[in-house]
Point group: C2
Chain length 299, copies 2
């Protein structure tokens, strides 16, 4: 097994990886690390766990590892991810994975696993034999795997958490999940966002000829119950926000908002979360001016 | 004419008021100022221009100025304002006024008038003779007055601007109107907010037996065209936000959101703006914790 690393490269090379997990801490020593995919070469499986904001880098990072039979798992957030891989490398070898896991990176070489750990998978062309191949691989590593009715279903299901909780954690100014659950007005918006994700997702599934359907009210109950059990979880998007890094705004919010418009489904809550998180990202890039007290005297 | 002042009291007593206006600058010297309504006593008209966040102070501030024939104009933002005055003092003497004006306070004693200046008025019990009395009074002072079909109509009409532009200016992180108009995603949310205000307003008017109706698409066009002409206007709510003052969140966003729920009208955009601006106000009061980089290491 090889790890292509950037920030954590030197730390892992020096002293391996430490995983602090609610299921028990452990260390990986003598990890094969590489700074370039060229130093890895051809492999059987590529698991691509880039941020969606780095999707455009994925082609160049993955290609040196590909042989004729290499398969690729996009273990990433958002919509539109597998399409990109399929265009670059052909859809028959592309899989999507949605990790339902509470995990934060700590100092270099350290991973904190707070809760959950299920991975929901699908094959880009929904080939059952191929899906089973990936299921076996992950299950043999002790990972809880869920095979989704189809990949698109799994993507929308994951968005039922990511849209409300990533979205609100940043739009509400940089807060943890407990601040959302403890605020009735924010929770109401979160519930409405989940209903809209299900409505858009169902229209999308129908337009692709899939009979799979998301049940809005069941998803509301399930997402809120799961989040309640997380404590004051910090979403990946709020961590990026607080640290001043690019936000996965297009993959998690922009694509669903555009898909809704294309399908003619009203999604005002998704639209609002998209616009406001996008504004946060534009402020970070200096593309949107934040007013200060100094601006007001001469207004 | 008497002015009940707080922050500006000493400056105005000392050197009057200076108004920098796009229609021409002028000064008011020897202004009758008072720190307490007791020092003003009974008057014919009270114009109450408090922030909606100070509505609970209005009864004690207005009562010392009331004689049997005193009339009261609530020149304030939001919904539910006149109801409070009517409960305290009786509805027959209560009027509402909506100022469509771009105005900012500068240093004490200074007012900056940037654009517009129309005041839309209505009587709490929709008495035409009473409304005409207020219209004449304001018109005699050179003010452009618009008599609304009824007071509730005028309130919702004003909210067609306040909900999107006050709401977005704060929810987007403290920005001027040009940042909203220049961002297609934020503009889309603003347009949808106006449609929702009209839908809730129309249901409210209908429930009160009024035949007046707001045209959503016309209001969208009109509000955006007027705002386009304002330059990079700073809404009153964004100024309060930047200066760390209480936000008029309940009067401008909370009441419309609750009214929508009571009337069974979907208003997801208003709900979202309410929740997110309320979150900003809760952060200011220290009731909602904002995450910092220091929080993330131990997450």
């Amino acid at each position: 097994m090889h790890f292509l690393l950037r920030r954590d490269l030197e730390a892992v090379r020096r002293s391996g990886m430490r995983i602090y997990s609610k299921d028990g801490d452990f260390e990986l020593r003598d990890v094969n690390v590489a700074a370039s995919p060229v130093n890895i070469g051809r492999v059987d499986w590529v698991i691509c766990a880039l941020k969606a904001t780095a999707l455009e880098d994925a082609e160049a990072l993955v290609r040196p590892c590909l042989g004729p039979g290499t398969r690729i798992v996009a273990l990433m957030n958002g919509l539109g991810i597998e399409q990109a891989f399929a265009e670059w490398f052909g859809g028959q070898r592309v899989f999507g994975g949605m990790a339902f896991v509470c995990i934060n990176r700590g100092e270099p070489g350290v991973i904190r696993h707070l809760d959950y750990g299920r991975v929901s998978i699908g094959h880009y062309e929904d080939d059952p034999a191929e899906t089973e191949r990936l299921r076996e691989l992950l299950a043999s590593g002790g990972i809880e795997v869920l095979v989704a009715p189809n990949l698109q279903f799994a993507r929308w299901e994951k968005l039922c958490w990511n849209v409300p909780f990533n979205g609100l954690s940043v739009a509400a100014g940089g807060v943890g999940t407990r601040s959302i659950l403890g605020d009735e007005a924010l929770s109401k918006v979160g519930r409405q966002a989940i209903r809209e994700v299900c409505a858009v997702g169902n229209a999308d599934l129908e337009s692709h000829g899939s009979g799979a359907r998301l049940d809005g009210e069941k998803m509301v109950d399930s997402m809120f119950a799961q989040t309640e059990a997380m404590g004051d979880y910090r979403t990946s998007m709020v961590i990026d926000y607080v640290c001043g890094r690019p936000l996965e705004v297009e993959a998690i919010l922009g694509e669903p908002s555009r898909r809704a418009a294309d399908l003619g489904v009203a999604a005002p809550t998704i639209d609002a979360l998209y616009a406001l998180v996008r504004a946060a990202d534009r402020r970070r890039r200096g593309e949107m001016a934040v007013l200060t007290e100094g601006d007001l005297g001469t207004a």
